[in-house]
């Protein structure tokens, strides 16, 4: 893990900044964290292949998307929120509310499509509510979404405290469906949904007016307002999007486990924030990419895979290694932003 401290790209920039005319490879400062994560991911993957016999099989890599589909979707929503300079602590709780509500409604015989639309709407509504409180009443995002966390998990526990099985045919069919990718490599629909979410979100963030507004608000909300950008609308939309993504994550969770449980997804907000930070999304706002969040999720997923392959390691190491990586990337971000200023 020592490789995180000295990414080759960082060395290249420092040399280049000393002598601006020297024509060396000089990546954009904004790309450095993402490049570092990419290098780290490649090193981890290469190390895994070198050390473990079956690590190189394509199914190992493909399964990363299947196992981390929920986290991926949530991290996508979180990326938007963090780029505006906010934070959303409620996502894990929204997941638990979504799975519980989905399972309860399906048990009650509601049509699957109606349930799907309903829970996605509810998630978006919770997000929009938080966004509105943050924007109109100038409550700190941390506190407003903390209230959302309590509210959503409280509601979930209020509905049902125990795990509810889902016996709906549609849900089961999606859960058991396998998509063959190549010989011996299959994946689940939830992985494809997660990848689709990443692609759509990346396109929206990079190429739409809404995406530019998100960056502008994160860079400086006051100047964005003076430029006549719709700050309020964008900020509320960002939290709505995060709520929608969390609800979608909850639906994926309920499909994957064919059950709903009010304690599901607790602590997931931290994993999502950690994935974003490792993926180079700046927590002060204004900088980051959906692609970076994807890399962050893959890094944390790969750590887990390696620990599984090692077999004799305590699973607690996952948290510690993620913590160490967080530290490395935060310090690197700090150095990069300091230089940029």
């Amino acid at each position: 893990m020592t490789t995180t401290d000295t990414p080759p790209a960082a060395g290249a920039t420092s040399a280049a900044s000393l002598n601006p005319r020297r024509r060396t490879f000089k990546p954009n400062t904004r790309h450095i964290p993402v490049l570092a994560t990419l290098v780290l991911l490649a090193l981890m993957y290469g190390g895994g292949i070198a050390n473990y016999e079956k690590f190189g099989q394509p199914s190992v890599f493909v399964n990363l998307f299947r196992d981390n589909a929920v986290l991926l979707v949530v991290a996508v929503g979180m990326t938007f929120v963090i780029i505006t300079g906010g934070i959303d602590l409620s996502v894990g709780a929204v997941i638990s509310l979504t799975t519980t509500l989905t399972a309860t409604l399906l048990q009650g015989g509601w049509p699957p499509l109606v349930v799907l639309v309903l829970v996605l709407l509810l998630g978006s509504l919770i997000g929009a509510g938080q966004g509105a409180v943050i924007h109109f009443f100038k409550v700190e995002p941390f506190i407003a979404t903390l209230a959302g966390l309590f509210l959503a998990r409280g509601l979930a526990l209020f509905i049902n405290q125990s795990s509810i099985p889902i016996r709906d045919e549609t849900w089961k069919a999606i859960s058991q469906y396998r998509i063959p990718l190549a010989d011996g490599v299959v994946t689940k629909p939830i992985a494809l949904i997660a990848i689709a979410a990443v692609l759509i979100a990346a396109a929206v963030l990079a190429w739409t007016r809404f995406g530019r507004n998100v960056y502008a608000i994160g860079g400086n909300a006051d100047s964005a307002l003076l430029m006549g950008l719709p700050v309020g609308r964008t900020r509320i939309a960002v939290y709505t999007l995060s709520g929608f993504c969390a609800a979608l994550g909850g639906v994926l969770f309920s499909i994957n486990s064919t059950s709903g449980w009010a304690l599901q997804g607790s602590g997931l907000e931290l994993d999502a924030i950690a994935a974003c930070v490792i993926g180079g999304v700046l927590l002060t706002g204004g900088s980051g990419y959906v692609f970076g969040a994807l890399l962050g999720v893959l890094v944390t997923g790969l750590i887990q895979t390696i620990i599984n392959f090692q077999g004799d390691l305590n699973p607690a190491w996952t948290r510690i290694i993620v913590g160490v990586l967080l530290f490395g990337f935060i310090v690197m971000q700090r150095l990069v932003t300091r230089r940029a200023k």
Binding site: F137, V139, I143, A147, G154, L157, A316, I320, V324, R334
Partner: protein
């Protein structure tokens, strides 16, 4: 009358009184004396609120300097794990001397974790919420490593005393919390330290220019927060006589921040109120006890908490006051305040 109503601690205090009144009617014994100890729901509340008071106390100081400490729950888990591991290795678990030494060592380790947080914030210059997120994520893993994923049980009389013992008919845990509060009040209100803290929270740069060691003070408050979290972790683990690295201090950082906010300390730093924080912590604990006492499932406490957070945040938000009560402008401003 209006001055009492305008006090920012009026509403939290009023809610607390109402909740306690509910408890007087619902509980069998609100407060009695049995076997020479005070006994009853009120004593349970005071005893149970000790860890939260300690954690929230440290959090108040950190928030006063404009920071936040998310890692307190993990530090609680680590200190409980260290203490239980060492005590379970003792030949005689009831020996007072070694147990005291172990307690001191656990708190010392917690202070070191606080030092790590403080160094990241003050010296490396990372945003507090992110700097402490690192230890929040990694710390619980460390605690699980210490206990090797098991729950370590201890049978130590002296250790159990700090959670369930009584001194002069009052629970020891509550006395520890009272002593900590008294110490901090003395340090911040009888010396210049409180003023320095508020000045660092107001503007670190201006404080530094005024000759205040802003960095040193910042590191110090994180160390104090770490130490208090460690002490809270010991009380928690002594209460269940075991080290549970997963549920010890789980989500307590949120409760502690909530207690601080209820107590009227703003998250942006600056002025802080220790009395308010203690009131907030006891209010949260009472809310939990009351919700169970009136027969609502314990988990629904979260719903009530959500309502309390929303109500308090909105009532403290100047933008909300202006939007909602601004329409009452033609009337005297004083009336509008009372109407709240």
């Amino acid at each position: 009358m209006t001055s009492i109503l305008k006090n920012r601690l009026f509403w939290p205090a009023a809610i607390l009184v109402v909740l306690l009144a509910v408890n007087v009617f619902t509980s069998n014994q609100f407060i009695t004396i049995r076997d020479g100890h005070l006994f009853g729901t009120l004593i349970d509340i005071l005893r149970g609120s000790a860890p939260l008071i300690l954690v929230a106390l440290g959090m108040t100081l950190v928030i006063a300097t404009g920071g936040i400490d998310l890692s307190v729950g993990s530090v609680m888990a680590i200190s409980g794990a260290v203490a239980c591991l060492l005590i379970s290795d003792l030949g005689d678990q009831n020996a007072v001397g070694p147990v005291l030494l172990i307690i001191a060592a656990s708190i010392g380790i917690s202070v070191l974790f606080g030092l790590w947080n403080g160094a990241l914030v003050a010296i490396v210059g990372i945003q507090p919420i992110i700097a402490t997120l690192i230890l929040m994520v990694a710390g619980r893993g460390v605690a699980q490593l210490i206990t090797d994923g098991q729950i370590i049980n201890v049978q130590s009389g002296p250790y159990a005393t700090i959670a369930s013992g009584f001194l002069l008919a009052v629970p020891v845990a509550f006395l520890i919390a009272v002593a900590a509060v008294a110490l901090i009040v003395l340090l911040t209100r009888r010396t210049a330290l409180g003023l320095l803290l508020e000045s660092v929270g107001g503007s670190p740069t201006a404080s530094r220019l005024a000759g205040i060691g802003a960095k040193r003070i910042t590191v110090m408050v994180y160390m104090v927060a770490g130490g208090f979290a460690g002490l809270a972790g010991l009380i928690y683990s002594a209460n269940i006589k075991s080290a549970d690295s997963i549920s010890a201090g789980n989500l307590i950082e949120l409760d502690a921040i909530l207690a601080v906010v209820i107590g009227g300390t703003a998250l942006i730093g600056g002025r802080f109120s220790i009395a308010g924080t203690v009131l907030g912590a006891i209010l949260i604990q009472t809310l939990g006890v009351t919700v169970v006492a009136v027969g609502v499932p314990a988990q629904a406490t979260l719903l009530f908490k959500a309502i309390v957070v929303v109500a308090l945040c909105l009532s403290q938000s100047p933008a909300f006051r202006e939007k909602v009560f601004g329409r009452l402008k033609p009337r005297p401003a004083l009336r509008a305040e009372v109407a709240q």
